[in-house]
Amino acid sequence: MRRAVLALALLWLAAVAPAGADCKFHRGEQVVLYSTTDDPSVLIWDSRERLRDYRAASFDEAQAMLPHALLVAPGTHATVVSCVANYIESPTFHAPQDAIGVVISSGPRRGLTRWVLSSDVRLVH
């Protein structure tokens, strides 16, 4: 059952996501999650729209959205399954950021498919 859901999710992500030619990350790439140095833990979201809205919302609105997010520890590994280029805009960003679809591959959230901000994602070298 779990595998079927994952497969469906992957199919859905593949269908809705653009080709990702301008994306910083590409499908199949192994990445590690790490946010800012102030607080390197990473929020992962159940939809890319929420990810985008979180960045544009007021503090109270963002707080109301938190049940749709999970917090993973810095250094959590994942595999890129999708990328939407320049999807998220925020006054605090120098340039629009990509929304990255990932499948968590380490830690207690292993196997979950979620959306993260491209600046919270690092390639594994």
């Binding site: 102030d38 607080d39 929020l43 963002a62 938190l66």
Partner: protein, 457 residues
């Protein structure tokens, strides 16, 4: 076109005032620019101070959070005290930065900082207080909220940094622009001053040229108008002139000593009503006309009569009149025949016998056609004939008292024996007595009979 004296004065005053005005504006402008630049530098300095303070603020916030993490992990109360120190430092720093932002009127940035402070306050209440009270209770929900605070604070801090950097850039650009403007303005004034100086110099050169030309013309005219005396055998001739028009050596008084023949000399002194250049022009006319008449007529009374007729007709000005003394001196016998047309400033100083006035023998010239009489005066060696104009007798002292004939005779009596010294001393006495109150021209002619021949100068 020649510059008149009025045009010259106006031009010079205008240029000087313009130059001074330009200088004043340039100096004032420099001070203004300096004040503006100083103000901008002060603002720049405060913005830099705010940027540094902001970074310290962020460091204190990290200290605060890390202390809390330390306490959550170790439960060592040391971290609680560290947390409280960092929190107190953070609050003080927020107030300091806000004061600077208010002073610089950066309202937008100050509001951002207010939001930032509120977020931190919310974090303390929702996260820090709960962790301090229940250090073992690190719920995922709490962590997520911590992350939320962190994200917002990072965003707000970035916005504040951005706004301060933009202000810093704007001030730097403004300073650069002020410096540029100051440089351009300096160049402008420098060029302006240079051009004005060139203009001023050119104008001055032109004035100097014109003045030099006028001086040359004046010298030529003065030669024509100047009273003259020639040496006479067995006589010392001295003369002096004081013009009431300070800067001119010409006026309305004239004297002349002219050799009519080997043993006859014409002696003339006259005073024309009026003074200055107009009167000086007439003196030339009188001098040459009397010479011309004296070459034909030997009687002084006849000379005056003919001159009187000619003068009235030639000049045709009923308000113009002349007092004149004309004498013809025989340089062999020292007999002087003279006629005086209302001229009351003729004296003889006898050696060892005082000074006496010479009588008037007819009316002033140009007033009426009355007959003129003649008188004869025999001079002896040591005697001096002293002829002056009314500038001597009418000079007033500080109290306003005129010297008059008696005073003039006393001065002449006390004067040195030499003819030239006597003339110079009389002029000096008038200057000393009248000072700036000398308003009339004064001519002095002294002829002293001596025993031996006086060498020609």
């Amino acid at each position: 076109m020649k510059n008149t004296p009025l045009t010259r004065a106006t031009g010079t005053v205008f240029l000087t005032v313009f130059l001074l005005l330009t200088l004043l504006i340039a100096v004032q402008g420099s001070f203004e620019t300096r004040a503006q630049i100083a103000g901008t530098f002060a603002s720049l300095s405060q913005i830099d101070e705010a940027q540094i303070a902001l970074e310290e603020l962020l460091r204190l916030q990290i200290d605060e959070e890390n202390s809390l993490r330390g306490y959550a992990l170790t439960r060592d109360p040391f971290y609680v005290s560290q947390y409280r120190v960092a929190a107190a430092g953070y609050d003080a720093k927020v107030n300091a930065v806000r004061a600077i932002l208010r002073e610089q009127k950066l309202t937008g940035v100050e509001q951002l900082l207010g939001t930032y402070a509120q977020l931190q306050s919310g974090w303390r209440k929702d996260i820090a207080m709960r962790l301090l009270q229940h250090p073992g209770q690190r719920l995922e929900e709490l962590d997520k909220r911590n992350k939320l605070f962190s994200d917002y604070e990072t965003g707000t801090a970035a916005a504040i940094r951005q706004a301060l950097a933009a202000t810093d850039d704007a001030l730097a650009r403004s300073t650069q622009s002020q410096l540029d403007r100051s440089a351009y303005v300096r160049v402008f004034w420098l060029v302006g001053f240079g051009l004005l100086a060139i203009l001023f110099n050119s104008y001055r050169s032109q004035l100097n040229r014109e003045l030099e030309e006028e001086r040359a013309i004046t010298r030529i005219l003065q030669r024509a108008f100047r009273s003259e005396s020639v040496p006479l055998p067995h006589c010392e001739v001295g003369s002096a002139y004081l013009s009431a028009t300070n800067h001119m050596a010409v006026g309305g008084d004239v004297f002349d000593v002219y050799r009519l023949s080997d043993n006859r000399a014409l002696i003339l002194i006259a005073d024309i009503s009026g003074k200055g250049v107009d009167a000086a022009v007439l003196t030339a006319f009188i001098k040459f006309m009397i010479r011309a008449i004296a070459l034909r007529k030997s009687e002084p009374s006849a000379i005056l009569a003919e001159f009187n007729t000619a003068f009235s007709k030639a000049v045709g000005d009923p308000y113009l009149f002349v007092s004149m003394f004309v004498g013809v001196l025989d340089t062999g016998t020292f007999r002087l025949e003279y006629a005086s047309a209302g001229h009351d400033c003729a004296f003889v100083r006898r050696r060892g016998d005082g000074v006496s006035p010479l009588s008037i023998t007819g009316p002033i010239l140009g007033v009426m056609e009355e007959p003129f009489g003649s008188e004869t005066l025999d001079l002896r060696p040591g005697d001096t004939l002293v002829l002056t104009t009314d500038g001597l007798t009418e000079v007033r002292n500080r109290a306003g008292v005129q010297l008059l004939e008696q005073g003039a005779m006393e001065l002449i009596e006390r004067a040195s024996p030499g003819a030239q010294q006597l003339a110079d001393e009389l002029i000096a006495q008038v200057r000393a007595r009248g000072g700036s109150r000398v308003t009339d021209d004064l001519a002095v002619l002294a002829i002293r009979v001596v025993d031996s021949e006086v060498p020609r100068a």
